[in-house]
């Protein structure tokens, strides 16, 4: 296993002779997307015309299906198949572990036992979508309903320590907090949120003998493949899962849902391709969501602002049968210095749809608490909020004492303050007016962990010089296609146009997929390794070929650039070499594994958010006026796509602070908001002048390219900056997100 020391050496990426690394090139698949010709899962051309599947949802939260009458539906026009719990084909039990890597997130599809509102109980396939929908309305169900635990706030007393998780303590928090001259003890609540990806989950499936091909919208290729194989009780080698384009994931498409299972089962039953898509309502009720979190923050400080005692305790919820902890306290373990520390989580189990990861799980909720608490403490101390943070900047990781790989939080704050005009902030709330608006400024820090997972990639060069990278990786809008093309082209010294990237296929070398901000580093490092292996193969080919000008040269001295392979002034184009010496092309693979000593460093991405809001004191409406962020996230591979990721994350923070939440209906266990009118994600008019910048950084402890992820950092802390700006504008301190008008009005001083 490698060591991080190996990663500090110069590479084609750090040398960047072609200038492709960091360049804001257009998206690789951009032309397909702006012309509407990128086929998403429901749009893929099947070998023969597909039939249409429609799902039917349970109207109860807990109980059993006692009757399913399909007699009318079965004979309705165009109907090919009607399934209920009583006639759905057998499926492998969850956890049957035919495949040890299964990531199955749900029970067998159409189970008789109901565990949440919206669980699917029926499935109709017909020749057209219209016929399938009409027939679905004809299936009649009876249920034996049972009492269900539905409301988080009513069940806080039932919170338990998550299995296998301990609180983390350093020093003696209670004693230090009791003895601190300045104390803060407040509870903040982040809301239940839905991913609301623009593309609903969808699958098109067909069989060829014993082998099934599925095109589906999923972030994790291998996980989906193994899960489906487990469900169908066949080996993974008989399942080909393809996911070329994904209309948004954000963590919500990390697992397989019923569209995948039922499309595959029905296509087998009918001997015909079948496609199935969730409705928008089913996206809310039958996938995962970000759970609400109650966060108690206690800060004990000296009069000069230095923290003696710090605690963040988070209580969250999950579906009874699917344990999941929103780790809202984890980020704080590495953020501010304090000798006495306590962090931990508690979990309430409910009979509602499953909680799961959503963009920056942990940070996105957790930073809404501490980053407001720091603002409140700064006011108590009479300190500027940035000054308070500077006084608590740790030298080493405050919990473990490990060195930071890189940490530019201070520069993010100071640079951002200068560029944003932080000195214009009035320290006293409610002092600045612009017409009817009370105007305020707020800031917050951002931190998000950086990760590297094992991955492989394959790369081939053909006789015409075309270089093709293949990887079982996904691009969920993050820019994966584009950065992999840049890495591959730069590594091999060829123009971008000479490189093709093919992703999202279980036949390709495996990568973990998109999630946890690890995609670029993980997939990219494997692509880089594959590219380096191809360099070696080409160098050996040229120096061993009597017809090459490089014949007899030391392969170690070979260089690549401008589409040529060279030693000193002797060179030839790659296509000429390959066409002559390896006319069938060359294919090699490369892989990355985390370095043995990677965890000896505290490794994160950092940032600082600055926001200006207007508050209408008569209506309680909050409007974003301006927002700016400064971020440090390792070497940036593509200035354009990285910026889009970061500003997109910041806008998620705006939504978190001002708009987005869902609630459970205590009568039925359904979500109150189940469409995009009821669940308001930020719309264009909600976003004003919003921009960001990256600091120069290379993290040579992160991976061979010194890069880090940027997909989740932008949301971390962003909502707290808005909440702090609202307080600065009008003096309303609201600790229950989102800051909707009725809460603002009630909290106005």
């Amino acid at each position: 296993m490698s060591s991080v020391k190996d990663w500090a050496a110069p590479t084609p990426i750090s040398e960047n002779r072609g200038g492709l690394i960091g360049k804001g090139v257009d998206r690789y698949e951009g032309r397909l997307k702006v012309t509407g010709s990128a086929p998403f899962a429901y749009e893929v051309e099947a070998p023969s015309p597909p039939a249409y599947g429609v799902l039917i949802a349970s109207p109860i939260a807990k109980g059993t299906v006692t009757l399913a009458d399909i007699s009318e539906a079965r004979v309705a026009p165009g109907v090919l198949l009607v399934w209920t719990p009583h006639n759905v084909p057998a499926q492998g039990e969850r956890g049957a572990k035919i495949n040890p890597r299964s990531q199955r997130g749900s029970n067998p599809a159409l189970a008789e036992r109901i565990e949440h509102f919206g669980q699917h109980v029926g499935f109709v396939v017909a020749d057209t979508l219209e016929n399938a929908k009409a027939a679905a309305a004809l299936v009649r169900f009876d249920y034996a309903a049972e009492p269900a635990d539905l409301i988080f706030e009513d069940n806080l007393d039932a919170a338990d320590q998550p299995e296998g998780e301990e609180d983390v303590r350093v020093g003696d928090f209670e004693a230090a907090f009791a003895g601190a001259p300045v104390r803060l003890d407040e509870t903040y609540v982040s809301p239940l949120q839905n991913h609301a990806q623009m593309e609903p989950c969808a699958t098109t499936a067909w069989w060829d003998g014993d082998n099934v091909t599925v095109h589906t919208s999923i972030q994790m290729v291998k996980g989906g493949q193994h899960t489906l194989a487990e469900t169908l009780m066949i080996p993974s080698t008989q399942v080909r899962l393809v996911t070329r384009y994904i209309g948004g994931g954000f963590g919500g498409k990390g697992q397989a849902y019923d569209d995948l299972t039922l499309a595959a089962l029905a296509a087998r039953e009918l001997g015909q391709p079948v496609k199935v898509a969730y409705t928008r309502q089913q996206m809310f009720q039958a996938t995962i969501h970000r759970p609400a979190v109650h966060m108690r923050v206690r800060l004990g400080a000296q009069a000069d602002g230095r923290l003696d005692a710090f605690a963040l305790e988070a209580v969250t919820h999950c579906r009874r049968e699917t344990p999941f902890t929103e780790h809202a306290a984890n980020f704080a373990r590495s953020l501010y210095a304090a000798p006495n520390r306590l962090t931990g989580h508690r979990l309430v189990k409910l009979d509602i749809p499953a909680a799961g990861p959503m963009r920056a799980p942990g940070e996105a909720s957790g930073m809404l608490s501490l980053e407001c608490a720091m603002d409140e403490l700064a006011e108590q101390l009479g300190l500027d909020p940035i000054e308070l943070r500077l006084r608590n900047e740790p030298e080493t990781d405050p919990e473990t004492g490990k060195p930071f790989s890189t940490r530019q939080l201070v520069r993010c704050m100071t640079e951002g303050a200068q560029r944003f005009g932080w000195d214009r902030r009035h320290p006293k709330p409610g002092q600045v007016r612009d017409g009817r608006w009370l105007v305020g400024l707020g800031m917050a820090a951002a931190i998000r962990g950086n990760f590297l997972l094992p991955a492989k990639a394959g790369v081939r060069i053909d006789a015409d010089g075309t270089i093709t990278l293949r990887q079982g990786m996904t691009d969920i809008g993050t820019g994966t296609y584009t950065i992999l093309a840049q890495i591959t082209a730069e590594t091999l010294g060829v123009p971008l146009a000479q490189v093709k990237v093919e992703l999202g296929d279980s036949d390709f070398p495996p990568a973990p997929g998109s999630g946890g901000q690890f995609g670029a580093a993980t997939a990219g490092s494997a692509a880089f390794a594959a590219g380096m292996n191809l360099r070696t193969a080409l160098a050996e080919l040229a120096t061993g070929d009597p017809n090459s000008p490089l014949y007899g040269d030391d392969p170690e001295l070979v260089t690549f650039g401008g589409g040529h392979i060279a030693v000193d002034n002797r060179a030839e184009p790659l296509d000429r070499l390959v066409a002559r010496a390896a006319p069938d092309g060359i294919y090699v693979e490369g892989s990355i594994t985390p370095a043995a000593d990677a965890r000896d460093y505290s490794q994160h991405t950092y940032g600082a958010h600055f926001a200006e809001v207007g508050v209408d004191p008569d209506t309680g409406e909050v409007r974003l006026r301006r927002m700016f962020g400064v971020f440090a996230a390792g070497r940036i591979l593509n200035a354009k796509t990285a910026m889009s990721q970061i500003t997109g994350g910041m806008i998620w923070g705006v939504g978190t602070a001002l708009h987005e939440y869902n609630a459970v209906d205590p009568r039925y266990g359904s979500f109150i908001a189940q469409d995009l009118a009821g669940y308001h994600v930020p719309a264009h008019a909600d976003i004003a002048d919003l921009s960001a910048m990256f600091l120069d950084e290379v993290d040579d402890k992160a991976n061979p390219m010194g890069i880090k992820g940027v997909g989740e950092l932008g949301i971390a802390g962003a909502g707290a900056a808005i909440a702090n700006a609202v307080y600065n504008a009008c003096g309303a301190r609201i600790r229950q997100y989102p800051l909707t008008p009725e809460k603002v009005l009630a909290a106005l001083p």
Binding site: D26, T35, G648, W652
Partner: protein, 167 residues
């Protein structure tokens, strides 16, 4: 029901189930899958197409009501290899990430620019008697029927300013 309309400049005629929305007719009968289904309820704008030059949500419109209409979809905008200026601006400004809302955003932009040129006011219009000036606030207001969960709004704004000659 037999229905005929002009689709991306070509005559199209088909026998339709009257329950079929324009969106499903395009996607499932006419093999034009560029228009997207995000909500099927007129809430997200991913299905936006141009009918007689005006933008509509294709999911809220039954296909049989379009007898004789001129319909333009995302597939009808580029001239062979040359992108429509709005498409080119979206690509250059990185005005999308996953790309699912993008065909709707682009069709909506074209419809919006024409509405403004025709003097249609919006909630953000201060002087209803003057010519429309497409300020950033006007563009944001007029484009708010097209949601982008990747939240490419700053980049979409930049693309519209470029394409509309407003940059």
């Amino acid at each position: 029901m037999k229905t005929s309309f002009t689709l991306n400049g070509q005559a199209a005629s088909l026998d339709l189930d009257p329950r079929t929305t324009l969106l499903d007719a395009l996607r499932e009968r006419l093999d034009l899958k560029g228009s997207k289904k995000g909500c099927d309820h007129g809430q997200c704008g991913a299905c936006t197409v141009l009918v007689n030059g005006r933008r509509i949500n294709a999911c809220l419109s039954l296909a049989v009501t379009h007898e004789g209409d001129e319909i333009t979809t995302i597939e009808g905008l580029a001239q062979d290899e040359t992108l429509h200026p709005v498409q080119a601006a979206f690509l250059a400004q990185d005005a999308f990430q996953c790309g699912y809302c993008t065909p709707g955003q682009i069709c909506s932009t074209i419809g919006m620019l024409k509405e403004a040129a025709d003097g249609w006011a919006s909630l953000a219009t201060e002087d209803l008697t003057a010519d429309i000036v497409l300020t950033d606030e006007e563009i944001r207001e007029r484009m708010s029927g097209n949601l982008c969960r990747c939240s490419a709004y700053p980049q979409i704004l930049a693309a519209i300013r470029t394409a509309g000659g407003l940059a």
